[in-house]
Symmetry: D3
Subunit: 323 residues, 6 copies
């Protein structure tokens, strides 16, 4: 099994020792440089920006909260993989952004950063931050070729501009489609619910596949997995996980909670079911630790990040540049 | 869809602006007056009284906690309705009660208030407060004609007097049957569990249908819905939702939590399944925010209140007086 | 005493009944209109905006948190006044702002609103929101005549632009001086501390009086009061209270806590000592309820708001327009 | 020092072992019996009743919360006493009350219980419960002879009836005076503040000495102690400590918090200063653990209970019946 | 005194009265004595020791937290039993251990205590403490004859020594097998998951039956129950329940939470399904109340303890010594 | 990449970006090496060990909690110093310890580590961990020459062995004196209180100066500072700050809270008063974040760490080896 990696249980660092990093990976200061990234298979990146929220702020502290979780991994017993053993992985720090007071400027900085990342061939796994960052990430990462997407969320996030801005966290995937970086036909949205359905006509009009939360229960997880694999096919695929896809009991630490969501056990089964997709990047977003006094939200977010890392192990995209 | 109501997303108030009201409805000061209520289809009412609790107090703060929740609705995507668009709805404030030190006096005030309400033809949707209020509400609301009831709760609440009082929160539905305002044959109790079963013989003796929490899992939600619709039929029906019907992980903020309860997703499916019942009133009770540091309990309570409002939209009782 | 106002203790509303408003004052929907304000002596106003924060967001929920506090007043036993009895006061709701995604736009909306308010002669007492709102308030309120200010805070908030913006919460009083609406010679800043002193040279250069937190302890409260009264004199004076002036043990619910601050008892003594100043407006800001699980921060904020209301009672500015 | 009592540090029970009792004293089941009490010097008693509150309920859980505190004592280094070594002390359980739904009935049960206690000569130290219990305690304990009182509180608690009841927690000491069990001339109230002063004219009219919170700071603690000793003299004296006398930062867990209160260090100095008074009983009340997530309120309450026990050591009333 | 007040069926103690004990059972001070235990059918015992944890400490406070839960039972409506009515049950306090600073010494003390217990024929139901206590319990309890075990947990706890110690909480069941007190062929482990699978080869090698968390969902509860009953058969059986078997949303208060666990409703169904096993002892462990601000973890732990008590009622082992 | 984006004075990192380190200092992985330390003036070190606690565990998480605090410094306005500007400072990670299950082994590892550190001439500032670590630190750091000490704490920590161990957190300074590394005549203990005085006879017998918490208030801070400077003189001095020296309202997150402690403002004044002492090392200990839901304890701990760093700036010991 993973015996060669962990043959001496004693040699592992105490789980609560030293500064906290994503999944206890090595931290590389100023790691968002081409020469650093080219030497990695997967980069774990924080995007601590929440100026796009429409309701409760706080997700700017999401990356630190996810780093603070100890004891995720090292082994995934269903997928039978210990990803840190097979991949070169590091926490490369957070995307530098020029202003805490300008949403559009932050998006520009994120986009530029991921454009640089795309050129290195590393698979970026990002932790938000509000969901608006995913739009900017896709614009940078998929500039040369549109990607498909598995999107797990309570909200479709395909609304139009609010209050004069198209950069808010309810719109990233409309923007990504309009920018030509996201292929709506290869996009599936899972876990959708809440009172905003009337805002997401674009999802339906553009050809995305939408599976509501109650439909997940009705269809069963296997059918959802099958549908998702069918939708995204073998092309390059991004996976975006918003923690508000989960029921607020499991993920209270988020800005726009919606009653009636998925359970973590369901989410894990879905993610494991996506083994083999051509994963080119992924994110977990909307962790607002101010509302997460048990740290459960950060725990599930860290676990999802770990599952993304496991999926990366099996992805044909490892060390393959998007072109 | 609901496009005509919400065609300009920008024009909605920020979710956290202004004093908080139930479901962000308009507040009418001193709204519990016949002339006000006669102009409404549905009245949202607080009943901040918890003198009937047997264990942990605190539900007196339930109405304020439910009002504090932002972002419920405006659209219900399964029922395909935006209830605020079709109904005249307002938050008419809280039932005035004469004494914080007298349970029986509070019940008398509640009963009198709902008797007045019944005469106006408005559908009252109430937020408690402990469950003892439901007995007083029924005595006022159904004085002219007994109603049926869908009762979702961990406890049957059909016990006899405790410690010299019949007004406590474990007895309202026995009292209502004995007062002739509740038809036990048209009453179904869903989610029952906990160590008090021996106190609820009246439920069985009077002919109520009792479905325990574990039976909900065994029967499946569709069978429960079918049974409930069969029990209540087409007659006037009240719906009472105690948040302790849910597992404490989903609704910690309550006075008598019981391990092993329903999930919010199940509760929502049940409520949606009751579309078309002849709803003449409803309540959500036992929200004790002192124990609800995530606000999850208030969130689900507000969502249940919204679902009740949606059910009201489809109820033949809209603008029909109970006679 | 206040006997005529409260002769029947029984007739007061239960402290937790009905929607919560500032100091339990009457709520006037859409109250930010000249005709409404002209009929009032004091308007209680929310400004739920926190796009100007440099660290932890959340103060957008401050107004709702302060409204949720029950049981402040009605009598101030040191000042011997029951202000609601002598003044016409209402909660007029929150300043409407056009975009949750634009700090500069919010400032413009706030400024315009307070310009309108200034013309009505009402004394506005505002609840933030981050401290950047005070700059916009002053630009609107004091457009016709610069005011003096008593400023109680951990930070001078007279820094220059950060990251391309001059609207952040560390700069409002520099901006106000530069705009000609704040007279630095008539400005005193009390409670200052923390690691940012090097950013606030403008305070000293412009002639403001700065009293650090440790100097408050050394000088004694009486000397601080005397100094403050001397600085502001009899001219129109604004009072701005940032809850981070208090030690974090007393006010944890704020975005930029600083160890070593004032105690509430000291703050109350200071505020009472300012009886008789020519108060033309005031605010209490930076309440971030996400970090305030005891509600203590909101409690002290509501109490400060009440003290401001008492000071208004004694202000020569009541019903006097700033011209 | 206390060496003889604690000569083997190892032999003490772990602080968190076994069921929790007041000050880790021995628990005597059904201990509220004359034969048990006559064998004790001091009885520690719970009174878990909060039906007299006017605002937030919850103090019914106060006794359990105070019991849960570990590590108070065994030595008081300022008073130089280890009270458990010199006195026979036990936790005798809680006062049985006949109904959770009847405030007046509870008062009758408390009064009867303390009348029995008075006859045994034990000194009762009680933990509430809301402050209304103190009125009933005094009626029972001092039935044969009025007592003096040192009363530390934010509120005078000498108001008249509210909403038809004279048993609420704002009135016990008016009731006690009217019942002839409390001598107002030998009563001092310390720490008074908040917006209810107009309700407490009875304190002044009856001749009680009232020292407001801000006067404590102005006079200094020594002067307050001197005044208190002068007021109560050598006659039998009760000491009632309401945790809301403290600033809410130190005691958030209470139903009617008032900003600007005492500090624990001040409270301890006061209590130590009362060494030698003729203490015949005492209580600490209004601990509402729902609002006490740090347990700080219960900690200070347990410490106050310990200080009362130390004062009992020095009281001439030990083993002396009130006659 | 109490008896005359409460003569009728309402005579149950208020749920929050008196010192808290396990399941509100009678407390017997120094109850861990042969003569006491021989007079009981079931002994409820605390083991407040957490020196064996590998991550977050705190379970030493587990027994007190479980005692603090009110309102569990008295009736189990699925098993149709009120166990306190049929069995002699008491809370006999906590196992005395000689040192808070020595894990091995604590294990020796626990083992010796349970060896004494085994000789009395009482069924011990224990509350931890970390899971390492179960190894010591088994060594004492099953010294004369190996037992089978139903083990519900996220972790197999069959790892080898860590950092020089074999007494940590990841190893008790390997130790128990090696000591000849646990029969691996009669052992089933249910709910297993997390990143440590590579540490538990001993479970598989020794012949234990392992059912992962996701397999519980796939197999269905009935199949799991059938399998467990088949594995343990009719021989003496121990039941060990680690609260981290549950998803962290249901049991946040634990030291090594693992996302994706069981639901309480599932756990209750499993436990009820084990009716009739030859239960000779059981425990519920790893309750860390520091992380349990809703008390939900302690609630479910107390409910599990109650279910174990119900299972004891049906066990052929009642009053039968292990020989 | 970052450099081009942030060319101006605004170029400080966002306070919540990247992995958290002590005082936002640079992190050096595996920094506890002679060659690394010799290049530094001050090393910030974590010691995440809490096996020495007698009551509530949890301080093992103290270093991570202190690292998580943003926004301390960079300037100290009373001491007029920006220490990061003048000193070479880094977070060098946590002391590696061989076993989570062995207190004595951890002490040996700590002692060895600080012996190595002493040889490099760097000033170590450490974050605990429970207070027992200070004994081991002193044994390593002062092996060649005894040091004096300013010790701010609720407890003297000079007790003898408990339960067979001399390594517990109540004994480090007795051990240090007995080991010849601490000069009791040059030791002052400030803030002492609580019920354990009888355990600390060694402090008095060995000639330490003890100033109780209430004596701090009586003497005044200036007198305390003068006394401390007189006691420690110009010789090498260690400063140990236990957060339980503060009142629990200011520092709830600790294992053995004691009511009636210092205020942060007092603590800061004391620390600033020690400017110029010959500081050779220091620590801040007993931060247990499980009990610190406001993070206030970690905030004050981080501030104390910063003050220690400022004191280091003025210490003659900078770059001077203890010999």
């Amino acid at each position: 099994m993973a015996a060669s990696v962990f043959k001496d249980g004693d040699s592992r660092k105490w789980p609560f020792a030293d500064p906290a990093t994503f999944l206890d990976a090595r931290f590389i200061e100023n790691g968002l440089q081409p020469e650093v990234l080219e030497a990695l298979d997967v980069a774990l990146i924080g995007v601590p920006m929440d100026l796009g929220v429409t309701n409760r702020a706080g997700a700017r502290l999401g990356p630190r909260a996810v780093r603070a979780i100890e004891r995720i991994g090292p082994y995934e017993h269903v997928l039978r993989v210990a990803p840190m053993g097979g991949l070169k992985v590091a926490d490369v720090g957070d995307v530098p952004m020029r202003s805490r007071f300008g949403l559009a400027e932050c998006h520009a900085d994120i986009e530029a950063c991921y454009r640089m990342i795309a050129a290195t061939g590393v698979i970026p796994l990002s932790v938000g931050g509000d969901h608006s960052i995913s739009g900017a990430i896709l614009k940078g990462l998929a500039a040369s070729q549109p990607v498909g997407m598995i999107h797990i969320d309570a909200h479709c996030d395909t609304a139009g501009p609010y209050e004069g801005s198209k950069f808010h966290h309810g719109a990233p995937f409309r923007e990504a489609v309009l920018a030509g970086v996201l292929d709506p036909k290869r996009t599936i949205q899972i876990g959708i619910r809440g009172g905003g359905e009337y805002l997401w006509e674009f999802s339906f009009a553009s050809g995305m596949t939408v599976i509501h939360a109650e439909e997940v229960a009705e269809m069963g997880l296997k059918a959802v997995i099958t549908k998702a694999l069918e939708v995204v096919g073998t092309g390059p695929t991004y996976l975006s996980f918003d923690v508000d896809s989960l029921d607020p009991a499991f993920a209270p630490g988020t800005g726009t909670p919606e009653v009636g969501g998925l359970q973590p056990r369901e989410a894990l089964t879905l993610l494991r079911g996506f083994k083999g997709i051509n994963l080119v990047g992924g994110d977990v977003v909307e962790i607002a630790p101010q509302y997460d006094n048990t740290t459960n939200t950060a725990q599930i977010a860290a676990q999802v990040l770990f599952e993304l890392l496991c999926l990366a192990t099996f992805s044909p995209a490892v060390r393959t540049k998007l072109t």
